[in-house]
Symmetry: C2
Subunit: 434 residues, 2 copies
């Protein structure tokens, strides 16, 4: 008999069926034992009458792997509308130790560090698993949206000879006796590939030797990058970013509907035009409302991003807000200045529920502008020569793009409070395992 997934059982009422999964929980009454069996698709109740089988089962620890054959019986009491009766139970892997995490409650009650230490077990909780499905569906939706817009997916090297964003916060490694670094972003490579394919995206690991220990920083994370040629300015890029985010919402709605239901998620609407506030105007709004002195600061503090997120919800009915025109002071050397206001830049952040999820903008595209920008920073162009500056020297169109931290999207989406709750095996200053 073919094993079926638990969510297929409702189609087989009256027949005998074989399922397999993990012993999620058992409840023993005087004449009856109720087993909850968990597989990747759901949880099924199995009714065991008094007798030899029940006595044997009583000895099994949670998470024992079982194969169960039984008759599919309709019931109004169980979530799927069915349960299994008259079961034959065969253990596939017997566990002898009690799990370090209690998986049977509706939410995990252990402290986060304990959950993370025992990720092999805590990720099995239906809510944690659902979050992993939401992340996968988000990425699939991102790709689908960009594929439809003629983007090509690329894979660029993570071992690089030059630190991407700056000399700080970079992991060094020994590369056959030479110094090398882990890429902080695919920035130089995705720009270079605009010269080849015009529109590219990459989904991959990036690495930051992040000194902060906060709820939103990790030393390694999944970045969804994109880069687009032949743009007008950063507003063209923002238009594509809107499509990418709409694709992510669509991906979650259509590919992870079960997870959305289990987590009781409130999926956001992505407005056809996401509202935009100019950086300086945003600062003035915050000043006027809070009385704090904000204008003149080169960046927004997290509290200010939250304030603007609330403002966008209130004023525009939007959970998304573009902030455009950040000061050049805090942006990297490849940033394109605003033509009319060169202390500010053709750049943007996208806030989702008050958290920065995307940073992007227009890049310089003329070789001589790069030489000038590096010169102003007293940096030698030599480390950037190949492939980056060579691409610029041999013809690059106006272009721009963004980086999107996957956990910066999933965390507010599932109303988690820490990116470590939405990353399978997080890495930070103090955590290198599991």
């Amino acid at each position: 008999m073919r094993r079926m997934h638990i969510d297929e059982l409702p189609g087989h009422v009256g027949a005998r069926a074989r399922v397999a999964g993990w012993l999620h929980h058992q409840r023993r009454l005087s004449r009856m034992t109720f087993l909850l069996l968990r597989d990747a698709s759901g949880i099924a109740q199995i009714v065991v009458e008094e007798g030899e089988v029940a006595a044997e089962l009583a000895r099994l620890q949670p998470e024992t792997v079982l194969e169960v054959e039984g008759r599919v019986v309709e019931t109004e009491l169980e979530p799927g509308g069915v349960e299994l009766h008259e079961p034959a139970v065969r253990p596939l892997a017997v566990t002898t130790t009690k799990p370090p995490i209690d998986l049977r409650r509706p939410v995990l009650t252990e402290q986060l560090p304990l959950q993370l230490d025992h990720a092999a077990v805590s990720l099995r909780h239906p809510r944690r698993r659902a979050i992993a499905r939401v992340a996968a569906a988000s990425v699939a939706g991102y790709r689908a949206a960009l594929d439809a817009l003629r983007f090509t997916e690329i894979h660029t090297p993570k071992i690089v000879v030059t630190a991407t964003e700056s000399g700080a916060n970079v992991f060094a490694l020994d590369y056959f006796g030479r110094p090398a670094y882990l890429a902080q972003s695919p920035q130089f490579y995705k720009q270079t590939m605009v010269g080849v394919l015009e529109r590219v995206y990459e989904v991959g690991s990036v690495f930051r030797a992040e000194p902060h220990d906060t709820a939103r920083h990790l030393a390694e994370y999944v970045s969804l990058d994109a880069e687009i040629g032949f743009i007008e300015d950063h507003f063209t890029v923002m238009g594509f970013a809107r499509e990418a985010v709409a694709g992510m919402v669509e991906g979650v709605a259509t590919r992870a509907a079960d997870a959305v239901a289990l987590l009781d998620l409130d999926l956001p609407d992505v407005p056809p035009e996401i509202p935009v506030v100019d950086f300086l105007d945003g600062q003035r709004l915050i000043e006027a409302a809070t009385g704090e002195t904000v204008v003149g600061e080169p960046d927004l503090a997290p509290a200010h991003e939250r304030w603007l997120g609330e403002w966008a919800r209130r004023e525009h009915g939007s959970e998304f807000l573009f902030v455009s025109g950040y000061p050049m002071a805090k942006r990297p050397f490849y940033t394109h200045p605003e033509p009319e206001r060169p202390a500010f830049s053709n750049s943007f952040d996208l806030l989702f529920r008050g958290l920065e999820m995307i940073t992007g903008g227009q890049r310089l595209h003329r070789y001589e502008d790069y030489i000038a920008a590096l010169g102003a920073l007293r940096q030698s162009p030599e480390p950037y020569e190949r492939p980056y500056l060579e691409a610029m020297r041999h013809g690059m169109p106006p272009h721009g793009g963004w980086g999107l931290g996957l956990a910066r999207w999933v965390t507010p989406l599932v109303a988690a409070s820490n990116v470590r709750e939405t990353t399978l095996f997080p890495r930070d200053r103090s955590r290198l395992a599991p």
Copy 2:
């Protein structure tokens, strides 16, 4: 006027249209100049009558970025069936240096090292770019096939505390003052995630401090991994691998049809049942045919893989061949032995056109089997404790999976002779840039 892609021009015969791209080549006759403009979608011919514009264009280097507005005229002489007349030409980025790579010939004629040094330019060649599209379409097809089989995509850490496959060939890095390594594969994590999601796949970078300098080894490459729970044995895994490969072929055929045409690719048929030869039987076939002593060797040499590839084509009409039952001696500690013949393993390779593209097999799933396997190698279980052995201790079903090197698939598919021709920015012992 909206810019359109060159492959949209045939729908606009008689109208004026705006295109933009790179000056691929120009040919000057006495009264006429023919420009070839290349964008991501193709190459268009632009006919410039004698006069001021032509004189200005004559000064432009190849790869200058141009915007061109002109009238779309039908012609039988050009590939797309159209060309642009009466053009207005506007440079978007003027290049003043001759490119280091000549892009106008049907194939690149420079030596491979020179092509790789100048990847920013050589990747712009229509054939190199088409290979990048074939790679992207392969990955998209892989995901589509596995998504349909209820797999979930995962992203696991690349910075790890324990060398994955062995202590050798691993890159070491400084992780906030502690030693860490770059993951040689997602092996431990994908197995752990079978306990969570049953069927998982990952597409990501893996890292090998490869001492070999061969046409098929790189220090960093894209690996397409999968892992599946509740299998019978490795033959179940091979069935899923067949579906994944069929998805890749389908992906290339449907998502990269232009690239297939440009490269004149002969896409392989994936038989409903890919032929399987037992490792030892394969060795006996090679011995009988070549007279070499092969039986007793713990692995197949590349020449023997090629021989078996030819044999499969001849005897089974298949460009794919599974070799199953490799000796345990050369397989890692987590490999499941053959129950009836424990010196051999429930493992397999998939050869495509005589090149190994997949390695996979059934893994051990009982905690005590892991302890015994590590004990036999005199290895402490401690470095493997979390998350790996903890997953095994708390209930894991019989499971298995594979790793598939993207370049090991694309290289024979496009009839290239070196994985460096199908990897955007390859990394090897002597190459850390571009």
